[in-house]
């Protein structure tokens, strides 16, 4: 009998077959070469449905090896259901080490937050992106948006910012503020809060954005200029949290969650769970803070 090694294991290492992983890596390399440009990729089937973090998972699984130390967060928390399940899945498929410690991880997958602690050149941050096309809100047709990107025709996004200013008197889009990457492509930073957007600029680590449902990968390489779109007189601002302190650690200057109690009183807690743990235990980890204009 001929021994068929291929079928001795029920899954290939890291779930995705080698050819597809190679394809994803190739597309990732292309994305690194053209910062901010959305590279279409195969987006193979996963055991979770598209739009639930498959894009991040594809990128993570194409990169992960047995020596990697993996951390997965969801909205800043290591403990949320989505993060736990994805973490267990990647661990089972790749036998990598796991951690909650931001500084220790070599590969971090995240949904909608960038960790507060400064990431280093040894680390890769993979973001799950629901809608990578920054122009989708102003242009329905895919073919047209590609032409608009090709010709750097971004006036319509600027008009939406102008309209937001007229309606709200400010330039804060909540999450996913459009950003100019390396002076060429306007991209969306996944719906991370404005607080995190300045952290993408001139960072030491590599940021990879995977959108599984939309089948796109884009990237912000290390030491790349990322400028949130802003007007000359109306400047981009991050969340302020003025006079707010974390009710657990007593610290300020971090992205805060507002938590309501049953009696409708509210308190604030640092959103990044590992950062909060470190604040409680010892010295404040290194952090990049953006100061609002004026």
């Amino acid at each position: 009998m001929i021994e068929n090694l291929k079928f001795q294991h029920s899954f290939n290492y890291a779930y995705i077959d080698e050819y597809t992983k190679k394809e994803i890596r190739r597309k990732t390399l292309k994305a690194v070469c053209i910062p901010g440009y959305q590279v279409p990729y195969s987006s193979p089937e996963m055991p979770i449905s598209r739009g639930w973090g498959t894009g991040g998972l594809h990128v993570t699984l194409s990169l992960v090896g047995p020596d990697d130390v993996l951390k997965i967060i969801d909205q800043g928390s290591d403990a949320s259901v989505n993060a736990c399940n994805l973490r267990n899945f990647v661990k089972e498929m790749s036998n990598c080490a796991l951690t909650f410690d931001t500084a220790e991880a070599t590969l971090i997958q995240t949904r909608h937050r960038v960790p507060e602690e400064i990431l280093t050149e040894k680390q890769i941050l993979v973001l799950q992106v629901p809608q990578p096309e920054v122009l989708r809100g102003v242009e329905r047709h895919e073919a047209k948006t590609r032409i608009m990107h090709g010709e750097a025709d971004y006036a319509k996004i600027w008009v939406t910012l102008y309209e937001a200013y007229v309606r709200t008197g400010g330039l804060r889009s909540g999450a996913g503020h459009p950003m100019m990457v390396n002076g060429r492509y306007v991209a969306t930073p996944s719906p991370i809060p404005s607080w995190d957007v300045p952290n993408l600029s001139m960072a030491r680590c590599l940021y990879l954005f995977g959108a599984g449902r939309e089948k796109r990968i884009h990237c912000v390489p290390p030491f790349t200029r990322v400028e949130p779109l802003e007007f000359e007189d109306i400047r981009f601002k991050v969340e302020e949290f003025a006079g707010v302190r974390c009710s657990v650690s007593g610290q300020d200057k971090a992205f805060m969650d507002q938590i309501y109690a049953d009696d409708l009183s509210s308190s604030y807690v640092v959103n990044d769970s590992n950062f909060l743990d470190k604040l409680r235990k010892g010295p404040r980890p290194p952090q990049r803070l953006f100061t609002n204009p004026e």
């Binding site: 032409i147 010709e151 102008y162 309209e163 200013y165 007007f231 000359e232």
Partner: protein, 279 residues
């Protein structure tokens, strides 16, 4: 030849269907059709030549389907020309054929050097943006990234076009037809373009509003000296606005000359019919 023209159009044609030079020879007013009998191709505009001079207002009249709108839409790059050459003085001093330029250059010309007012405000305005936003779009395309300056300019333009400035941040969808048209004119004028294309601007408006819009256009023309191409099937509009007129039929020019001359003493049979059917 004199060299003072602003816009020079040569042999401009638009064919839907099989585009061979022969289809131009088999269509036109002589055949009383713009459909080629052999190939079925539709010739919307057929070998049109004209010059437009600075500060001049040129009228284009003709029945529906005569190619008037296609003509201006090609000049504004909304439609691709099948053949033809267009030279525009502000672009490389008129040396370049506009249709050969890159898309980026074409967009620059559209945004900086031309303005277009469509018959239907929905074509020229984005109803999901506010009126101010619509004007801002033109300015942002011209790299004005200063909200204060944008709002001052938008206020200026809306005042000039008699749109209540109080309603600047409302969507044009909530405006009356005449106001929408005036917002469109404000948008088209945003970057002070040397050439304005007006495509049936007053059709569909009631007569008193028509008169106001025409007054506005005449005033703008007088104050700013902008050149215009006015497309209309309404000879009243042509008489009121234009210096010179071309009469189109089946995609070709059947008669052209000074507007007064054409209206008083039409030579071509078709023009005679048009003038005599004027109410």
């Amino acid at each position: 030849m004199d060299n003072h023209w602003l816009l020079r159009v040569r042999n401009l044609s638009k064919v839907y269907g099989e585009a061979t030079p022969e289809v131009l020879e088999r269509t036109g007013p002589r055949f009383n059709s713009n459909v080629c009998p052999r190939t079925g191709a539709v010739v919307a505009v057929s070998g049109i030549n004209f010059d437009l001079y600075p500060g001049e207002v040129l009228g284009v009249v003709g029945e529906s389907g005569s190619g008037k709108s296609t003509l201006v839409q090609m000049l504004y790059f909304d439609q691709e020309a099948t053949w033809g050459e267009v030279n525009f003085k502000p672009v490389e001093d008129g040396a370049a054929n506009l249709f050969d330029l890159s898309n980026q250059k074409k967009r620059y010309i559209r945004n900086h050097l031309m303005g277009m007012v469509y018959q239907n405000p929905r074509d020229g305005l984005n109803f999901r943006f506010s009126s101010g936003g619509n004007i801002a779009e033109k300015l942002l395309m011209a790299n004005v990234f200063h909200v204060g300056k944008i709002r001052i300019r938008a206020t200026d333009l809306l005042t000039k076009t008699e749109v209540p400035v109080k309603r600047m941040d409302e969507s044009p969808a909530r405006f009356s037809g005449g106001m929408q048209q005036r917002v469109q004119i404000a948008k088209a004028m945003a970057n002070n373009p040397p050439l304005l294309l007006l495509d049936e601007v007053t059709s569909g408006l009631d007569v008193s509003v028509q008169a106001k819009v025409l007054d506005l256009i005449r005033g703008l023309q007088r104050d700013l000296g902008v050149s215009m191409i006015v497309v209309s099937h309404d000879l009243g509009v042509i008489r009121m606005l234009t210096d010179r007129t071309m009469v189109l039929k089946h995609g070709q020019i059947v008669e052209q000359g000074l507007t007064d001359q054409i209206l008083q003493d039409p030579q071509d049979g078709y023009t005679q019919l048009l003038v005599s059917s004027l109410l």
